[in-house]
Symmetry: C2
């Protein structure tokens, strides 16, 4: 099949706009040259605006998991109790990381397809007054759930605990004003809402988090935040910067500024509404109720077809790629990514691809019902 | 100044050929798609040929230091004695990493500008029979020294110790046949002889190293080798692969194969000879004697000028960037990188740039003496 630009509708990596992709192909720079200093400073300032923080935003060469690990290695000492909110694969990752670094995680499990109730965190912190770091997930991309970070941050603050948020698949697509909400650490990756190739990770660090990091004895070197902060004073990274991705980052942050924060969040909410309504019109069951529905991806099931068979049929006939379920949800749901460089018009083609997949599987399709419903939502969007 | 493609003559990042840079701008792929499986398998097989090993070569998203850290976190337990060979900044990095992970490094220091004598390692291992891992540097890029890894590997093997080699600034430019020499772990990065942007790191792991890793209790998750090995069975990386750099890697490995291993090593030796003879002709003192001279970069001093002033003058007048000294060598030497996508003709322009820098500083210059000597070396090269 002619595939041109790959039609990726997975929860990352997301499509990279050509402006960004071509920026990454610029001639290599020395990471200790005046030109790099200029690039570093511009990117640093744009990142702070994106994180909505006056604190530091550190840039690490690595995947989103690298940034997550840094938040464990810098904030916990072996044997220390921490709270982990776990409602899916990425909550599990916090658990695994805590174990790997010798911490003692207290697990607050919440159901797949739902967010964590702030009251539940309140109870856990009251019962475990020694636990002073909470590891949370803003957007659990294995279930398509968006947690209420503003409320969780209030609870953590009331117990004098730090809140660390995995926002890998949400920062840039859903509001997370770090300082205003009192979030202590935000980690994210390049290949989701930031419209970049994978390979860069970012960590926003509050003054309270720095204080805790100074006292922590977790083993760290490559992920040692203090090395990044020290190097940043000279507009350097402590280890060779991923220069081509820094070029790309500079361009993607410029594009995000051009669109504007509110317009960007609104675009993601609109895409969510179009996909959810379109899927409903086609007879699918949404895995997540409206209250917890993520603006960056949607999980669904039903529709009279097997989710894996549907994914394969859609890909074969249209070239559009959806993701399946992970872990316990393998074979039970399919997931559609709608974040980063995606537009409302892309949601129409996404639903058209679903219709084509249904027909390929022999399911009865009223042509245009899903795509049409999405258009209707778009037209009536306030 | 018109700068076109940046004229980088630093020991990394090195210039990225346009074939490679443009490959990195290809449309994003899902890291769990059939197309990625194909890319992963091809790259994996080409990497094994580059490392000259039948063992595993793991691909990590991160800088060369990330790969170094993995060799500490996977091979040592807190409190364990290890031997570190230290003759410059990158030997020091092994020391720092060992300390960061709670190991007890026994330091074998060797002089700046020289390599480590295999006999010295023999004595240290005899005196410390409990130390079963040796951390070495093939190419100490802070001093431009190439160590004799073949001899060091024999010594380590005789004491039943593992040899771990930092080949970040040499693999691809100097021979390091991992299996033939009995080296247990080789780490390298993308932005040196591999002609790629920074952001990928590679680790060759021998069966003996796997055995030791299984018994080690070092804290690790992102750098846990066993996760990479398990994921590679499905042609995946355990965390999101740096897809754009994987495209670039595939292209650069293809270019390296096209040139051929022996021709590539010979090209680096020729460039070394041209630069060293050219600098000598211009009155500079080489920092490293012939016996230990690196084929991937050259350090020099003297010539009647201050090294930092020379670097600045060269850069200002010609756009060519050299590196200065690091740590104790700051202000005492300058370093010229000649690895990866560099040609003999580039060495002529490199020496021309040195001549122009000398003249800018008011030093007497016989025009063409350095560049001419380099040409002469090239013509007479066997």
């Amino acid at each position: 099949m002619f595939d041109g630009d790959k039609l990726l509708r997975v929860p990352g990596p997301t499509p990279v706009p050509s402006r960004v992709a071509l920026a990454s192909a610029r001639p290599m720079l020395w990471h200790r040259s005046p030109e790099f200093v200029e690039l570093f400073r511009r990117v640093e300032s744009r990142l702070k605006a994106l994180f909505e923080t006056e604190g530091d935003v550190l840039i690490i060469a690595g995947s989103g998991t690298a940034a997550m690990e840094s938040a464990v290695a810098n904030l916990t000492s072996p044997g220390e109790e921490v709270v982990v909110l776990n409602g899916g694969k990425f909550g599990e990752r916090w658990l695994e990381l805590a174990h790997a670094f010798g911490a003692k995680p207290i697990e607050l499990k919440y159901p797949y397809g739902q967010g964590v109730e702030p009251d539940a965190l309140d109870r856990v912190l009251a019962q475990n007054p020694g636990a002073k770091v909470v590891y949370a997930t803003q957007n659990e991309s294995s279930t398509a759930v968006l947690n209420d970070i503003e409320a969780l941050a209030k609870v953590a603050r009331a117990h004098d605990a730090l809140l660390v948020v995995d926002a890998v698949s949400s920062l840039g697509g859903a509001p997370l004003p770090m300082d205003a909400w009192g979030v202590d650490v935000v980690v994210t990756g390049s290949q989701k809402c930031l419209m970049l190739p994978p390979g860069l990770a970012f960590v926003g660090v509050s003054p309270r988090a720095w204080e805790k990091a100074r006292a922590s004895r977790g083993h760290r070197y490559y992920f040692d935040w203090s090395r990044y902060k020290k190097a940043a004073q000279n507009a350097e990274s402590p280890y060779t910067s991923a220069v081509s991705l820094m070029y790309a980052l500079d361009e993607s942050l410029a594009m995000m500024e051009e669109e504007g924060k509110e317009a960007r969040f609104e675009r993601h909410r609109l895409m969510r509404a179009m996909v959810r309504e379109g899927l409903r019109a086609l007879g699918f069951t949404l895995f997540v109720e409206d209250r917890w529905a993520s603006p960056t991806l949607t999980a669904a099931t039903g529709g009279g077809v097997d989710p894996e068979a549907l994914r394969k049929a859609v890909r074969k006939k249209t070239g559009v790629t959806f993701a399946g379920g992970q872990g316990d949800l393998k074979g039970k749901i399919f997931r559609i990514g709608h974040m980063g460089a995606a537009t409302p018009l892309d949601m129409v083609t996404t639903l058209a691809a679903v219709e084509m997949g249904l027909a390929e599987l022999g399911a009865p399709v009223a042509w245009g019902r899903g795509a049409g419903r999405a258009l209707e939502v778009w037209k009536s969007w306030q």
